[in-house]
């Protein structure tokens, strides 16, 4: 039981009503979907009982696609159209991709994010990921028997704004309502139920297929606090495969290979890596297209030697994260291992040696993230049981900055700041009569703009002409709980006020996303219209429940007249939701939202007051914990 009682969450469902929510681990190599059933988090398997979905999408000339094992089985026959490890391309430009010369794809560079030429046409990594998410959504809906209220999707803690935004867009195209993006290491800690422990520091070492993440978490009294994150978004199990592949080329003295042969040998390399987890020696046998036979033996020792630098590369970010958190190895109470690549003995050994303790391994490292995500989704939709409650306080993984004179970066929000967070900055004009001002937002730790990732460029126009330095333009940078940035600007001189909202773009406009949505509908057996109607009915029901439960607890905050208007809004929405007209449902929802706007503000106020009013009692309780809390100070 969580020691800090977090009563009255914002809105909770009627206690007996279970809402369908899932957690999704959208992995580089494999993806999973999990849910909480009868209080237990379980991974949902496909109709053949397989829990994993290989993150492989194969595009066919008729415009359709295959996802998962089907696509994986044919990838060596059709490597060009079989997209593996697409997560590495999310929110990335062509120049960001390591080893791309060894990849069998036809890339297209596009501003912000690369594209892939396939038999089914030009595809963005967002669309490829959406195929994987859609497959998981259909699996979950078939298994749970209804449309999902929401999903929690995990991302590496180290993902920047562009990569997070791309993930959210993929979910949108896949028809998944996103409750929250959750950092993978935090999900792992939730899966382990580490919140039950007394205040302690945990490290989560997550070596996945294509990304490495280290997170330092402080867990106390039902609260998860990410103290620091670090990692390498281009380092993972795939790199170990690549090392074995290179060793094979050298050991067998192979000539340059065809795309198909390369793909096949990479698969052999992966199999050998997995075999070595339980055996000391892995035989590698393959026959190339030319008929030439490859016959090698990889030992644990050789593997450890050729991958030594990769293992060492993971320890640097670990040290950095500890330093960012102001902690040392001795402060770490446990190390959670996540990701299939942590099964490699040399990784286990190196981590154990660095932290001077055996890492935690009780949960399946492939499933641990999906299970944590499912538990979080269950909590967010209000299915949680009383007393089984927790709160995540996340941080932004990379600093946000602005371009200043001479191509330098001025940091506005430092990395590891707790989110949500905001920062307002005042700008002025530097020429007489200047009416526009360019703002360039970047993300990264380096001093030069050219070394950081460009997030958004926009121009503030319509500034009233005045002498240089007289205009005052206030720009606010807001980072939400998902780690996504929104920028608003306000010109506040001489009573002129203009406000704009800029969503950072990474190459996909809203129009393009709409186009992808349409495209995706063409090739899916899903009835789009029926689905949209069902979704708005679910949304309407959710809003009705939220408002009704708010009225039940805080109805006294409304005057008789206000109450009548809100109740009328509910009845109207109920009527609309029982019909088939989607537009009418949306309109009735908008009306009810508008009618409850002030009510929401009053409730928030009351809730905060209550935090103080209840304090005397809770502080008495806390005296018992004072020694423990004192250690934090």
């Amino acid at each position: 039981m969580a020691l800090l009682q977090i009563a009255e969450p914002g809105e909770s469902a009627a206690p007996h009503q279970h809402r369908l929510a899932v957690g999704i681990d959208l992995g580089t190599t494999n993806s999973l979907v999990a849910t909480v059933r009868s209080g237990l988090a379980v991974v949902l398997s496909d109709e053949l009982g397989r829990p994993l979905l290989p993150s492989v999408v194969r595009y066919l000339p008729d415009g359709s696609s295959e996802v998962g094992y089907e696509a994986q089985a044919r990838q060596s026959l059709d490597p060009r159209n079989s997209i593996v490890s697409v997560k590495r391309f999310m929110g990335r430009g062509l120049q960001d991709i390591a080893h791309r010369e060894g990849m069998p794809y036809v890339f297209d560079d596009a501003p912000g994010m690369l594209r892939l030429q396939t038999a089914a046409g030009r595809k963005s990594p967002v669309e490829v990921s959406a195929e994987i998410l859609r497959t998981l959504r259909l699996r979950a809906e078939a298994s749970l028997g209804g449309p999902l209220v929401g999903a929690v999707i995990t991302v590496p803690a180290y993902f920047d704004d562009a990569q997070r935004q791309a993930t959210k867009d993929a979910a949108r195209i896949a028809g998944l309502p996103v409750l929250r993006l959750l950092n993978e290491p935090t999900a792992a800690a939730i899966a382990y139920g580490l919140d039950n422990a007394s205040e302690s520091i945990y490290a989560v070492y997550d070596l996945g297929g294509g990304t490495f993440d280290i997170s330092i978490l402080r867990l106390a009294r039902g609260i998860f606090e990410v103290l620091a994150t670090g990692g390498d978004s281009a380092l993972g199990g795939d790199d170990f495969d690549h090392r074995i592949f290179c060793w094979m080329l050298e050991a067998a003295q192979l000539k340059p290979l065809s795309v198909e042969d390369s793909r096949m040998l990479l698969t052999r390399a992966r199999e050998a890596k997995e075999y070595l987890t339980f055996h000391g020696v892995a035989p590698i046998n393959a026959r190339l297209n030319s008929g030439e036979a490859v016959d090698l033996t990889l030992t644990t020792e050789i593997f450890a030697e050729i991958s030594q630098t990769l293992v060492a590369k993971t320890i640097q970010p670990v040290k950095k994260a500890l330093r960012d958190a102001g902690l040392s190895v001795a402060d770490v109470k446990g190390v959670v291992m996540v990701g299939g690549a942590t099964r490699m003995p040399q990784v286990q050994h190196a981590v154990g040696e660095f932290f001077r303790q055996e890492p935690l391994n009780n949960l399946d490292p492939d499933k641990v993230v999906a299970i944590g995500a499912a538990k979080q989704a269950n909590l967010l939709v209000g299915n949680g049981l009383a007393g089984d409650d927790w709160l995540l306080l996340d941080v932004i993984p990379l600093s946000l900055g602005l371009e200043t004179m001479g191509g330098l970066v001025e940091k506005i929000i430092p990395r590891n700041a707790t989110i949500p967070t905001a920062r307002a900055q005042e700008f002025t004009t530097f020429r007489d009569g200047q009416t526009a001002l360019a703002v360039h937002v970047v993300q990264g730790e380096r001093e030069l703009v050219s070394d950081c990732r460009s997030l958004a460029r926009f121009e503030l126009r319509g500034i009233p002409p005045m002498v240089a330095g007289a205009a005052r333009i206030r720009v606010t940078f807001q980072v939400d709980a998902d780690g996504l940035l929104a920028v608003t600007a306000r010109e506040q001189t001489a009573g002129v006020e203009a406000s704009i909202v800029v969503k950072p773009s990474y190459g996909l406009s809203d129009g393009e996303i709409a186009g992808m949505l349409r495209d995706s509908m063409l090739h899916v057996r899903d009835d789009a219209l029926q689905r949209a109607l069902k979704e708005s009915q679910v949304d309407a029901q959710r809003l009705i429940e939220a408002v009704s439960s708010a009225l039940a607890t805080d109805g006294d905050l409304l005057s008789g007249e206000e109450l009548a208007r809100v109740e009328h809004g509910i009845v109207k929405l109920q009527g609309a939701a029982s019909g088939e007209n989607r537009r009418q449902i949306m309109l009735a929802m908008d009306d009810l939202e508008a009618e409850t706007k002030d009510f929401a503000a009053r409730r928030m106020d009351k809730s905060i007051r209550r935090a103080f009013a209840g304090r005397n009692i809770s502080e008495l309780d806390s005296e018992v914990l004072a020694t423990r809390a004192g250690e934090t100070a």
Binding site: E11, L592, A633
Partner: protein, 175 residues
Amino acid sequence: MDFNADHFSLFDFQPTFRLDQALLDRRYLEMQSKVHPDRFASAGEAEKRLSLQWATRVNEAYQTLRKPLARARYLLHLAEYDLGSENNALMPADFLVEQMEWREAVAEARAAGEHHELERLHHRLQREMRERHEEIAVLLDDRHDLEQAADRVRRLMFLEKLLADIDDAIAACEE
């Protein structure tokens, strides 16, 4: 509760430099557990927006009060004392000489890759900063001497920057 209240009132604290860190931590977590966006995942748009604003506000207040330098600067700001920008000209010569000696020691250790020496400098500097914190507590809370407190705060700003440089040097050694 007033959204625009000062950071101290937000957590029901008196505006003093000395503060009960454990109590601040606890109140911060209590407030976040009420206002955090995760509490409103299935709420309406209006409530989601409010929750985002409040959670941002609470984070800002906590981050300001939690760190001694930020807290001291904020107290001066509340007292409408203009700290001015960091400016060498404002600092006494002996302090600047001392700073130069520090920087030379860091640069030497960094060039020689002396990891342990850098760690030692880091701890020595932290001790020195703690002493400044004690002084600021007396100046702000007991003597209400803004002038002198501002002097210590300016020194502390130099020291914080120095600490960041030492940590960078340690990081460079490890790479």
